[in-house]
Symmetry: C2
Subunit: 262 residues, 2 copies
DNA sequence: CGGGAAGTTGAATATCATCAACGGTAGTGG
DNA sequence: CCACTACCGTTGATGATATTCAACTTCCCG
């Protein structure tokens, strides 16, 4: 039940086809032909499930999350349109996090079996996937220092600016957007409590830097926000992962090229 | 100036040669022939340096660290004997963290140029390096939830148990060891202050769970420590990266095999 | 519409950070 | 080899930041 092949998908450069060798597009169509439709709140997979496939977000937003034995939980990532989902387990055959749709969502399914069969002849696609894996790693590195080094306000500002950047890279407005997640989910992602998020949003609004109406956010003074962010940012500046910010740009990847291009 | 080739290195299974196709050992010897001797406190590389090589720790201990524009800093990893260093930058040709020796240290140098030339004919070595990269990613994921979800005491206990496990995997005593890092460095790694580390060590000692003499630590009640750790641990249990805990064991890596074995 | 979830705000509290003083150890150089 | 000093570590008192508990409001969803 193919809806629309990757070769003509409007997401195009925001997703796997970006930077892909055009000759490999038909093969990608074949691998990723299946679609998955999820209602808000539906689970894609949960901790411990065997890794049957990886997924590309066609429409909607999702969260990845983990839990502790005594019931605490943390969100380890949000996934927007065009992003790759399901590569949380690098070693074992089981997922190490769960994934849940934050709204009605459509995913493109790339079965592991199909990938295993097709990838040897698709060096460019394999490179894209290794890139996604590496970007997820970089995201975790950034979040680790975000939570370890920044104050609550700095974390929230970093979150808002990061979201703004990812959304604008996808063609949405940079300074006005709707949060797909609750205050509690933002807090869980940033190592804070929901009340703290609520208070901080009010405080930033009171200071005139943002406007908050429910989940609609407007960045009124992006520069003021950036200056809060800048002082707490690691040097050189790193952003949470966004695989679409710089399509095909930048100098040649060093380690990645060495490892991923046989 | 070759000291000792990897093929006869006593580290053996604790380092790159572990699980390596024996046929590739001579090639590894050729790539990793250079040694680097560092005095305590010496920098291996710093943020922004071009990635000239990756390194294997032959002897000693090091830390990886990042800094913010306003002077805060965080340690993002400690590196023991047999571990791989320098793969912090996956994309760009520049290091994203700095590396400093915590004591007099010897490193084996694997120049990127030599790797680039040799790896296409060394699939098994390439797999080892991708594995190291993935384990670093997993480490960051675990630390992100460690800092985001755990109390100060739980973080410190997790640190001590993790260190114990890594050391015992290398043939050292599991319940008695010497910290190579200061209280401040432990705190920086865990998102805490040095005074907090000091107080917590005293508290754990008072409770009879550990004995502390300067930097010598004895785990007196490992089970009590583990029960503190267990309740805050994510399920399924993840440990901070240790590439030597399970040599050649476990089921076939899923995503990793698919991506790294062409 | 009605009910439940999500969000806001206030007050009290806990945890960890900061400031400060002191003791000990190890490393240095005479 | 010993003495000096600088760094490391400990502990106490105080304070800031974020959490917890709680009451109330608003908004969606059914």
């Amino acid at each position: 039940m193919t809806d629309q092949p990757c070769s003509t998908c409007p997401l195009g450069r925001f997703c796997l086809p970006n930077d892909l060798d055009p000759a490999e597009l038909p093969a990608l169509d074949a691998v990723a032909h299946r679609r998955l439709r999820l209602k808000k709140g539906a689970l894609v997979y949960r901790v411990g499930d065997p890794v049957m496939a990886i997924y590309a977000v066609r429409l909607g937003t999702l969260k990845s999350h983990v839990a502790t034995e005594d019931g605490r939980s943390q969100i380890v990532g949000f996934h927007l349109q065009g992003e790759i989902l399901g590569m949380d387990s690098v070693f074992g055959p089981f997922h190490l996090s769960s994934a849940t749709a934050l709204e009605d969502t459509q995913l493109c399914v790339l079965p592991v079996s199909a990938l295993r069969a097709a990838l040897p002849r698709l060096p460019s696609l394999r490179r894209q996937l290794v890139l996604a894996l590496a970007q997820e790693a970089q995201h975790d590195r950034v979040m680790m220092t975000t939570i370890g080094l920044m104050t609550a306000e700095e974390r929230l500002v970093a979150f808002l600016l990061g979201l703004s950047k990812r959304l604008s890279a996808r063609g949405f407005a940079a300074n006005e957007f709707v949060l797909r997640m609750s205050r509690e989910e933002i807090g869980s992602y940033l190592g804070l409590k929901l009340e703290t998020i609520s208070r901080l949003l009010s405080r930033l609004a009171e200071a005139g830097m943002i406007a908050v109406h429910h989940r609609r956010i407007r960045l009124l003074q992006p520069d003021a926000l950036r200056s809060i962010h800048r002082r707490s940012r690691s040097v050189p500046a790193l952003e949470p992962t966004d695989r679409c910010t710089a399509p095909g740009s930048g100098p040649a990847p060093a380690i990645l090229d060495t490892l991923a291009t046989p």
